[in-house]
Amino acid sequence: MAVNRLHKLASRGSVPVFPVLGKQGDGVLRHLALSPQIELVDSPRYASVLLVAGEIPADRFEPLRRVHDQLPYPFTTLWFRSEPWPHLERVARIDDLDDLPGALVTVHRELMEGRRDSAHRLLPDKPPNPWEGEGDFGQGGEGMMGGVPYGRPMAMNMADDIRDGLTLDSLTFRLGPFFFALPPGMAAEITLQGDLVQTWKTQLAPYPQPLDKVFFDARERPVPIAEVELARARHHLHRLFHALHLAGLENVSLRTLRLAHGLSTSSTLDGLRRALSRSGFFRLTAGGGALGPEQARMIGGPAARAAGMDDDLRSEDAGYRRLGFSPVYQAEGDTHARWRQLLDEIDQSLHLARLAERDKIHTERAGSVETPRGPWSERRPADASALFDELLPGLEWGDALATVASLDVAALADQPVGARPSGESRAVGGGTGSDV
């Protein structure tokens, strides 16, 4: 009797969900962050529901199986707008964003009250390397550092340390496509010595990120500037949301998300900017990762302007000139400069949107547009995740992840937000496309 009272009590709490992001999955993440009964967690060990949000490309199935098996019993999975694997039984698939939170709560409640039994492990129950009974004392290792004790080799020192000349063991590992601090879908092979990054090799580029429809229209015909600037500000606010969660500022990140959700020409940034600067976000948190001139030119957009380059396609557009637009830029080009640049650009966009809405001004120059990711004249901004391979070695772990969060490296998707990828048969259900 006591056990099921415990289970009944456990089912009433908030639902711990570990989100795994597929294509266009981060929109789902932002939607769930606003619903109070869902608790998005950073590690699968803390979750009882694995949410697969968005379509996962085939080359990331193996890491997904690994993460699926890392949830402790009792757990289950829920697939949002992506095809569940055939051999999982009784798996829920949701397509409409609005009833996703409700579905998560019911799945969790069923799981806790035993009405739904836990999912099973997919991968075989075998150690990474066979070791029982082998080696000197049956633990799979020989001598001091040899063999595969307990299934894994011992760390050996590969190279001199790049900073203080003590050659100690370096740890090489692959940080997977589903690590929340990396852009969705990006995977990298990292070698650390201590907590200092020695080498960083990006293996899987992040998913191409969808942009608002208004940027696609702006290339064909004049569009109201207010709409373009609001979409730009919303994009920057979404990136700020992820970085603030990484820096440990939960409340301010949710405030940023609410601001982005209900963004209009009347909303302002002052309260948020004061909260950030007063809490020392621009001075004491992890920083570093300064861009060189040619790196800045390669990535373009706000990151380049943070490094002192003041090229902005908007300054060639007559409509913007009439509004008195002049590009704002920083000098240092490191992580803190990029955050200051982002906040200045949001302020500027809101100011331009207010003016443009009052005077109904449209963009004049079709054919090229300044997207929040970078200038888009004839070719869409390509993926720049190779930039990390030279930028991150030499940084401490916290600084490296802060630099990754501050650089928008994903390429632009060919479809705007909300439009279903061509392969999908049914068009999206109710929910308006723009709020994803």
């Binding site: 950073d42 201590g194 440990g248 500022l249 772990w397 600084d399």
Partner: protein, 308 residues
């Protein structure tokens, strides 16, 4: 025999349970006050979370140091209990009134660093290891500041006993007599319970740091131990700086719990408002800025103690 032995044990266990629950509820109150809506009843949510953790299976890594891994959360809870055992609730109502209780609290802080490193090390997983090592840099730095501040408090009391320290604050509380003391001690408290800006051990950029590989009952004990250490710290801070059980009208223990709740809410608020510091900047801040400040606080306390 009873009052000598079982009363202290019951007192400490009562403080652990009620204090831990109070921390969980207060944390959710502060979160909802700052704008993060909390699902379900704030009073019920900690119970539900505890029940969920008890039903969840415990995780294991490939080759952990099993004994140390299971022992670390329990050791951290025991340290919190010994901290609470030293906190005096009234002139006579104190669990264990050692002559050198201030030094014992200093050693609880030093041993907390050992236990948190052990928790990170024994999981044999990368993110936990980085969390453990990063925390030791902070853990070894805040011990000095805490000791200078506590010595400053022990000066007017002319003894290393918390009951004497409270007695010495009869006329004027230390928070007014030694203005630099409480802010520095709050920073030490954040460091000791790796909460908010000084959370280098279980931070979000390490997916939970030392606790990234535990789930189920071990994680419940780790969270309870963290909450208990917060309560123990706020008890010591209230005793050392806010005049412990002293106060007009209300009985001693009531004053003590009010002051502990005040210190707790300040800590939880700081935890929610400030971003996490970079470890390197944190160590430099502690050694180059806060240590000289604690020197000044000590000299100030000495001067005041002399001229009183």
């Amino acid at each position: 025999m009873f009052s000598e032995l079982f009363l202290p044990v019951l007192m400490v266990i009562f403080m652990l349970v009620v204090g831990g629950y109070a921390v969980a509820v207060l944390d959710r109150l502060v979160a909802s006050a700052l704008g993060t809506p909390q699902a379900g009843g704030i009073w019920l949510a900690p119970m539900a979370r505890g029940a969920w953790l008890l039903t969840q299976h415990a995780n294991a890594t490939e080759a952990p140091d099993w004994r140390a891994w299971r022992l670390a959360p329990a050791l951290y809870l025991a340290l919190a209990a010994s901290g609470l055992a030293v906190v005096p609730w009234s002139a006579s109502l104190v669990a264990t009134d050692l002559i050198t209780s201030v030094v014992l609290w200093g050693s609880v802080e030093a041993l907390a660093t050992v236990v948190i490193f052990l928790h990170g090390w024994s999981a044999n997983s990368l993110l936990a290891l980085i969390g453990g090592y990063r925390y030791v840099a902070l853990g070894l730095s805040y011990i000095l500041i805490s000791m200078f501040v506590l010595i400053g408090v022990a000066l007017p009391a002319e003894s290393l006993q918390f009951t004497q320290v409270v007695a010495s604050q009869e006329g004027l509380w230390n928070v007014i007599r030694q203005p630099l003391g409480l802010p520095l001690f709050l920073i030490v408290g954040l460091g000791m319970t790796f909460w908010g800006p000084l959370n280098l051990a279980d931070s979000t950029d390490l997916a939970g740091g030392t606790a990234s590989e535990i789930s189920g009952p071990p994680r419940l004990v780790w969270d309870m131990a963290r909450a208990a250490m917060l309560v123990a710290f706020s008890g010591v801070a209230a005793t050392a700086f806010l005049g412990g059980w002293l106060g007009p009208w209300l009985p001693g223990p009531l004053w003590m719990s009010l002051k502990m709740l005040a210190v707790l809410s300040v800590l939880l608020l700081l935890g929610r408002l400030l971003p996490r510091l970079a470890p390197e900047r944190c160590v430099t801040l502690m050694w180059v800025v806060l240590l000289p400040l604690s020197f000044i606080d000590l000299v100030w306390a000495g001067a005041v103690a002399l001229w009183e």
